[in-house]
């Protein structure tokens, strides 16, 4: 079975797919609590499906882009589980998961963008064709610089209605859709490496300041 999860947005989402269909999924939408919620959610989807850890044959994880601290919770969990269970770990761009859902449900049937909250008054953004194939991005940008009349999927659009007037489709990613997208090859697979898109905030200290 394919176990999927994503921690690149305020939502923590986990799902289990048996090759035919999604057999269990669970979401938690309490921001800033990714580290507390992910492991219990994984436990829950396994239990809900009547499965145990030995039934997991592959792991899929959202590699962002997304706020770093939460993003790493998903990635380190995926890599470590993959190592312990000796199963492959597939990375998926989180924005691609939103795109796959938007197209897959029929909510969007024209070229569109996906935007999620990058904090610091910026959004993570990527553009897609009408079939949900990524055309450009992902990038991190100021909403004003990306203002558009195109349809925008994802919560990033809701935060800046002045720049993203037309919105549609899912707001936050779903691990259930990630599982479907991986199984049905709707998304490209990546290494489980985080898409940070920003350098760490770090400044070398200046010259020593005198104390007297």
């Amino acid at each position: 079975m394919l176990l999927t999860f994503d921690t690149a947005t305020p939502r923590v989402t986990a799902a289990l797919h048996d090759g035919e269909r999604v057999v269990a999924s669970a979401d938690a939408d309490v921001a800033m609590r990714h580290g507390e919620q992910l492991a219990p959610l994984i436990e829950k989807v396994l239990a809900d499906a009547g499965a145990d850890r030995f039934d997991v044959t592959a792991v899929g994880v959202g590699v962002g882009p997304g706020p770093f601290t939460g993003l790493r919770v998903g990635l380190v969990t995926a890599r470590t589980l993959g190592h312990v269970l000796q199963v492959p770990v597939y990375g998926v761009c989180t924005l691609d998961v939103l795109a796959a859902q938007a197209v897959g449900t029929g909510e969007v049937a024209e070229p569109f963008l996906v935007a999620t909250d990058a904090r610091r008054k910026e959004v993570y953004l990527a553009s897609y064709d009408a079939e949900g194939n990524r055309v450009e991005g992902p990038v991190v940008v100021k909403p004003a610089a990306a203002a558009t009349d195109a349809l925008v999927v994802g919560e990033g659009a809701d935060l800046y209605p002045e720049h993203f007037a037309r919105t549609a489709g899912p707001r936050r990613p779903s691990a259930a859709w990630m599982a479907v997208a991986i199984t049905e090859e709707l998304v490209g697979l990546l290494d489980p490496e985080p898409l940070y898109l920003r350098r760490p905030d770090a400044e070398a200290p200046g010259a020593r300041k005198p104390v007297s």
Binding site: R33, H34, G35, E36, Q37, L38, A39, P40, I42, E43, R53, F68, T69, R72, V73, L75, V76, T77, A78, R79, T80, L81, H83, V84, L85, P194, Y196, P200, D201, A202, E203, A204, P205, R208, P210, V211, S212
Partner: protein
């Protein structure tokens, strides 16, 4: 859940509270592996640890370090009886990487998880070197992040239920800089590399520790009334900087060795004085020193010399076990198993300001 050996539990411990990714494996009191990946070189040019840089490095190092530890220990991951992990105090984002990895291990192996306090782990690590801990003991933990005096009656934190009777009780702590931080800052003033501790120690060997009379923080009679077991290194650090600047202004060369030796003497004098006072005041005959600064040669020497006169025994783990590492977390985890403590739940949080009295997460 498999049967857990209470006598000699095989425990894997993960430590990511600062810039070292540590994975240790112990069997009871026996150290089997202590794998550490450090991002210290990436921080050196910033003169201190950059949290985001440390967190990114933890993610990259985690699985390789787990693999390396298992290889060194010659064990199969599936054989471990329990997983333990530092859940605080420390850098929030860094802690979270280790906690998430530990949960994934516990989940993937079906083994119990123990979220443990970083400071108590610094105490527990000594049993890997010197056998069962003396309890009660006074523990002095000194590093770049902490300077604390603790009274330890039960390193797993179980006391008699009262705040005063908790297993690990803080007696004193720094009111400003950590001891190791003072070493780093003074090293910078003297043009020595980061981290400052080892470089000051080396420079001081060529110097005279009574050349300059630097202040001893919180040792005046008035300060002792309120801060008998507390430390302060900020005033000392400023005094050193002033002294060096005055030298530079007058165009005279700075006697680096003498400044290093005199500064180091001021730090070690106060550390040892207060630790021994704590032990004497509690009628406790064992002093345990841990944390990165415990590697300082002058600190070890002064502590042993003065403690001997008071009939107090001093235990200092070897330097490699004093700095942050996974073995110390595994050691405390093994003690949790051996003493039958209740494992933590999978939703345990990382807590950057975890108080020392909270030794085991619920």
């Amino acid at each position: 859940m498999g049967r857990v050996s209470r006598d000699e539990p095989l425990v894997l411990g993960i430590e990511t509270s600062c810039d070292e990714t540590g994975v240790g494996i112990v069997r009871g009191h026996t150290l089997l592996a202590d794998a550490v990946a450090s991002s210290v070189d990436e921080h050196a040019r910033f003169g201190g640890v950059v949290p985001e840089v440390a967190s990114r490095a933890h993610l990259e190092a985690m699985v390789p370090t787990i693999e390396r530890a298992c290889e060194t220990a010659g064990i199969d991951l599936r054989d471990v009886d329990a997983i333990s992990v530092t859940n605080g105090p420390g850098l929030a984002g860094a802690l979270l990487v280790g906690v998430a990895a530990a949960k994934a291990l516990a989940l993937g192996l079906g083994k119990p998880l123990y979220g443990v306090n970083h400071l108590a782990s610094h105490v527990a690590v000594d049993q890997l070197e010197h056998g069962a801990l003396p309890e009660p003991c006074i523990a002095m933990l000194v590093s770049g992040g902490h300077s604390s005096l603790l009274r330890v009656t039960d390193v797993t934190g179980v006391g008699d239920g009262t705040p005063e009777g908790a297993g690990v009780v803080p007696m004193g702590a720094t009111i400003d800089d950590a001891a190791g931080e003072a070493f780093d800052k003074v090293a910078r003033v003297l043009g020595l590399p980061f981290p400052g501790g080892p470089h000051i120690d080396r420079a001081a060997r060529e110097g005279d520790q009574v050349a300059i009379d630097f202040p001893r923080g919180l040792t005046s009679r008035r300060d002792l009334e309120r801060h008998r077991f507390d430390y302060s290194f900020s005033g000392l650090k400023t005094a050193v900087a002033r002294w060096v600047e005055a030298r530079e202004r007058s165009g005279e060369p700075v006697p680096v060795a003498d400044v290093a030796a005199s500064f180091q003497e001021a730090v070690c004098d106060v550390l040892v004085r207060k630790a021994l006072d704590a032990a004497s005041s509690e009628g406790i005959e064992d002093l345990l020193i841990g944390g990165g600064v415990a590697a300082n040669s002058r600190l070890r020497f002064l502590a042993e010399e003065r403690a001997a006169k008071l009939g107090i025994r001093v235990r200092v783990p070897r330097p490699g076990l004093c700095t942050d590492n996974g073995a110390m977390v595994a050691a405390l985890g093994a003690e949790m198993v051996a003493r039958g403590r209740t494992p933590s739940s999978l939703d345990l949080p990382a807590d950057s300001s975890l108080p020392v009295t909270d030794v085991l997460a619920g």
